[in-house]
Amino acid sequence: MRTVKKPATYDAIIIGSGMTGGWAAKELTEKGLKVLVLEAGRPIEPDRDYVEHVPIAELKFRGMNNRRETLKDQPIQRTCYACDEWASKFFVNDTENPYTTDPAKPFAWIRGRQVGGKSIMWARQSYRWSDLDFEANAREGIGADWPIRYADIEPWYNYVEDFAGITGQAEGLPQLPDGHFLPPMEMNCAEIAVKEAIARQFGRERVMTIGRAAVLTQTHNGRAACHYCGPCHRGCITQSYFSSLNATLPVAEKTGRLTLRPYSVVHSLIFDSQTRRVTGVKVIDGQTHKAMEFQGRLIFLCASALESTRILLNSATPEFSTGLANSSGELGRNLMDHIMGGGADGIIPGYLDRVQFGNRPNGIYVPRFRNVSSREKNFLRGYGFQGQAERESWQRGIHESGFGASFKSRLRTPGPWKMTFSGFGECLPNPANFVEIDKARVDAWGVPVLKIHCEWRDNEKTLLRDMMIQAAEMLAAAGAENIHLFNHNSPPGLTIHEMGTARMGADPKTSVLNKHNQAHDVKNLFLTDGACMASSSCVNPSLTYMALTARACDYAVSEMKKGEL
């Protein structure tokens, strides 16, 4: 990526180079704008930094992770499954990037500061939201009504899917609209058996489908098909999964209108009270710690939900004393994440002479079935299941008795098929889950940090219990043995679907952003990452962030051309 420093006024400044920043860069440069992308972290060179094909034998601790170092430098990041011995370098140093919480209310803020952001390590699950989601707040009188419906975003789902490439199977379900899919990945032997058993028991109420993922099952837009090495979160030299680094940023770069500046820690935005516009960005250089400013006609906040809100809170002015664009008082409020970690696993008997060939970077999905056609008494909304079946590896030997030649021979052969369902539940917007600036702490660059107040409430906890029981019921329907219910007690944040804190809405009195992700209070300020969400649905949000970003860019440029911006 080109990394030039030149003093100029840009048509647009995009803060963040990850999932949404990459899309904003592609859309705005393709529409002719001269764009500056500010990225807080370092540049990533795929040839040098991707580690997906590094054999485990090359790792110093052979996959057991550098325990002492991560305990010291990444005590929070290390709790994310993807922060492994290969990929921990894609996660922030927690001592340089502190935040605070009430000790009794932990929040796991998982962050990636580098060109590509968390789009490098994301799990690539890509689902459309439906009107079951967009209408939920209005129907139940919770939070603020979404200012858009499925019809508003559908063309943009089509648009981003056609570019990114999403593998999946059309199912015709109203609660999980089908997309423009590349061919689906195959289920394995045990998954096929479980899918058929669920269909027999539950009909169309519960459908197990193959995961919909931003991974290429065939060559797509010049990017190669997946070679099934498996661990996408360590990078992909063939660009076979979607990340900003693999897909959107190279397109923006080709326009010749992109300037990407890594090591640019944004401190705050500069607001001109005369024109009521943001005119630029205050930046601390990540390496030299020198303060500098950049000017732009449009500002797009794409720094991740909590970073974008942090920047607005740190940009308070005499007029906006509680944070820029916060006349509603809603900035920082209604933090959400999906509640996860509840489910069940069990052994599916048989198929011991069959295996799965290839490491499928995708699982299965059971779309939401609670409060779809039924009405549950005990909870609002619902959850979906991700999961997979796999044959246990040599690692089962760690917990098995035996030694010697027979033990070794046994462990060479994979174990029985184990099927796991793990739920992802919707989190209700609640103003008591919020973030504010902790005036007592700054990060390594002197930027005031967030204090996060967030906890699971009764509705989420009830969903978690229900997902454990229903997962076990589906396993029982499939004839599973040794069914084991689990609850990992995951803190909010760890699902890495943190959303809200600068919600969209029709009414400027109760929302920060309008239906085009434009700040009600500041016309030339857009925010298109997860902070904009008015509710959380139970499905993975990234595809929706992509679609909202492309949609907002289209609106911003058309307004600009009309002279409205």
């Binding site: 099934y228 198929y351 002479d353």
Partner: protein
Amino acid sequence: MERREALRLMGAASVFSVLSSDLFAATLQAQIAGNKAGSLGTLSAGQNEIVVAMSDVMIPATGTPGAKAAKVNEFIDLILTEWATEEERKVFLEGLAETDRRTNALFGHGFADASAKEQAAIVQGFDEELTVSHSEYSPKEPRPWELTLLLPFFAQMRRLTLVGYYTSPIGQEQELKVDIIPGALHGCVPAEPEVKP
């Protein structure tokens, strides 16, 4: 050709699926080479001999090399030196001393000098004790960041021997025949006939 370059060119040419993944074997080999043995950081020469012998009883050479050839002892020493807590290390080293005490009591010499049959008898004893006390340590695999070696000695030894062996070049390539780049996905296909040990 460098491994990544090869992959990228193939990605660009979109002919990946028709090429044999053997092509990558050589370049991967080059990556694996060069992990040379260092000197021991924790284990004394005597303790090291016990670890070498015991790991090889647990995972012996059969049709493929065993724990000794895979230098499992060096991995265990590294974990004791740079990963384990003081308390975990103490449990392990005490376990090695106990191993020698038991062998001496039964056979009149240390574990490393014992016959294969004698060593197997000692390991069998540890294995049976652990099975009895199985519920006292977590039988479920912990999540990676919760991994601990605060376990009975033989549970430590079994975990470290298995990890050390199966993640070694010998374990990955010869025993498990891991193919890092399968190049295709087939959900449900016949297993290859098992290689007889």
